[in-house]
């Protein structure tokens, strides 16, 4: 099942989120957390590999007021046998609970399969977030996205959107949200064509996103593609600049303790964009951000200067941004 934005989660004591499609995994977790918080529950979130044997009991114990917390554990397939056994026991113990107790996040695959089977065996709810690889699935995805925001997306519109935006679900989700917000809610192939032909920056943004995520190969591939289809180098440089500036702005605003609406207002970005930037921020240090901003400024000057090879300047900037991510 492809979880669209507005998935309502029925209360299940144990939920297993299975798969590697990051956007869907994050949404599934967010939905579970939101549901628990909505009924006043406490939520604890951590990576399963950080669990010491015996620690689980302490984490699942009731708080001062007698409420048991919802425990979200990522990377459960990576745990050692001791902790895995404790997790299986915890799943059994939680079966009869009225509220959500455990969300186990599992990448799928053979590793940790015993734990997965055991959790499902005691009645755990499974949310499937397998990697979306087929074009048809992407089309299903964008249709579900459009439905969730109350827009109607025609068949040819869905195909055109996937063709224009690419394979990344985050990009597709963002494109749906943007089209929904920018149009009267009726999206067909003509609307998509109009939107993306006039907005060559869409390509530049893909370059910027891959670069700040440290995915060098994909970033360079996107860059070559963008240049090949005639995207103006100035627009790519500008998208790269926006990408690294967003890191700086969101990072510093978040470190000042701003959250949610306050954060969005401070940095002037829509919430979906902030979520993405927050995810991209993992692994970045202030010194790294400084180096990336400088690389973007140099690229901006180089592509405007004309004389030098703009493609080379952009490639250099992408490399510099990806390298900056490792600066501590």
């Amino acid at each position: 099942m492809l979880a669209p934005m507005s998935t309502k989660t029925k209360t299940a004591a144990v939920t297993v989120v299975v798969g590697e499609e990051e956007l869907l995994v994050e949404r599934a977790i967010a939905a579970c957390v939101a549901a628990a918080r909505a009924v006043g529950g406490d939520v604890r979130e951590l990576v399963a590999t950080e669990l010491e044997p015996g620690q689980l009991a302490e984490l699942t114990s009731p708080s001062l007021f007698g409420d048991e917390p919802l425990l979200v554990l990522r990377d459960v397939e990576q745990t050692g046998k001791d902790v895995a056994d404790e997790l299986i026991a915890a799943c059994r113990a939680a079966t009869d609970a009225e509220e959500a107790r455990l969300v186990l996040v599992h990448r799928g695959g053979a590793r940790g399969k015993a734990l997965l089977d055991a959790a499902l065996g005691v009645g755990g709810r499974r949310i499937d977030c397998a990697k979306v690889t087929k074009p048809g699935e992407r089309i299903d995805f964008v249709r579900a996205e459009a439905r969730a925001i109350g827009a109607t997306l025609s068949d040819d519109g869905a195909r055109a959107l996937v063709d224009a935006v690419g394979n990344e679900l985050r990009d597709l989700a963002a494109a749906c949200a943007q089209l929904g917000a920018d149009t009267d809610g009726r999206i067909d192939a003509a609307v998509v064509a109009r939107y993306y032909r006039g907005r060559a920056e869409a390509n530049g943004f893909a370059v910027a996103d891959r670069a700040v995520e440290g995915r060098l190969g994909e970033a360079l591939e996107q860059l070559r593609w963008a240049l090949a289809v005639g995207t103006a180098p100035v627009l790519i440089a500008s998208a790269l600049a926006q990408g690294v500036r967003a890191l700086a702005k969101v990072g510093s605003a978040a470190s000042r303790g701003l959250r949610g609406g306050d954060l969005a207002r401070e940095v002037g970005l829509p919430p979906w964009k902030i979520d993405r930037v927050k995810a991209q921020l993992r692994g970045w240090s202030p010194a790294g951000v400084a180096a990336a901003v400088h690389a973007a400024a140099e690229a901006d000057a180089a592509v405007k200067g004309g004389g030098t090879d703009a493609g080379y300047a952009l490639e250099k900037a992408v490399l510099a941004v990806v390298a900056a991510r490792d600066i501590r």
Binding site: A241, K249, G251, S252, S255, A290, V293, A297, A301
Partner: protein, 392 residues
Amino acid sequence: MTVFDEMIGQQRVVESLREAARGVGMTHAWLFTGPPGSGRSVAAKAFAAALQCAAAEPGCGVCAGCHTVLAGTHADVEFVRPQGLSVGVKEARELVGRAALSPSGRGWQVMVIEDADRLTEGAANVLLKAIEEPAARTVWLLCVPSAEDLVVTIRSRCRVVSLRTPAADDVVAMLQTRDGVDETTAEFAARASAGHVGRARRLATDKAARDRRAAVLRIPSKLSDVGACLDAADALLKSVNAEVAELTTELDEAETASLKEAFGEGGSATGLGRGQSGAAITRGASRAASSALKELEGRQKSRATRTTRDALDRALTDLAGFYRDVLVLQLNAGVDIANTDRATEMQALAENSSPESTLRRLDAILECRVLLDANANPLLTLESLMLRLRDG
């Protein structure tokens, strides 16, 4: 009083210009070079006045010739002050045409080009021909920061006048006698402007300029984290934009109004043909008006870009001055610091960082100027600068 009084701390140059005006060593092309603020255009103007002077000792400062040149109204002296980022072929051709005219008076036809480094390559070639074969009574005075800023073909045909950075004492004396500034303010301004005469005068006489400088010098101690760096960049650019708006808005409006007036009907280009039936002439006039307006807007935009760049450059010069002082303190160089009013912060930074990191900061400022010159997005470039100043 003579026309050379305005040249601060340039006694030797004044002597040779006086001689040339008397006819000793006179030539058709002159190149005035010197660091920013050393008074290149002031020197060129004084020399132009001396060349039109009727007195036995040229440059008397009181005759009609001297007076009209200094006021910018002498018929045989053309001042070209590039307002945009460059001077193109078309403008250069106009100048050459003008230069070919014989002077109306007994003196010279004088062509003064300030910021001749803004000549495009094409424009420089146009000029070269005129300088190679000058009319008998025409003299070209070109101003550039250094001789290397001009193509060698032109440079080699010019007599070079090198101005030096005036000593602080000379600047202090000038501010006191010329502008009636009190001693303390004069000393502060001369120091803070590091020998840049125009800047010193501005700091001494304009409180807003002093406030802006103070704000720039407070930046280094504010760069605590990434967010503070972004804020500092934003604040600096806003202050520069406000300064530029102040400098250009009134001028723009006056120019636009006078152009519209020249085209008549109090008016808008579209209003020109109104009420007149089927007159191709009015339609033509309307087109001419709207194209003239468009051209004016283009020039104003180019001027605003240059004014912004100059204002940013002033701010970056002040900022570089701060770190230069820090380096002086770190190296115990025995050189006076320029920004005595920020000594406490500079001392603290000098003690808590290495000379190497101060040099990296100075490099970052230099690179920032290069990027801005290459037309990089100003906010992005300033953000990059602040982040690098923070890291050191």
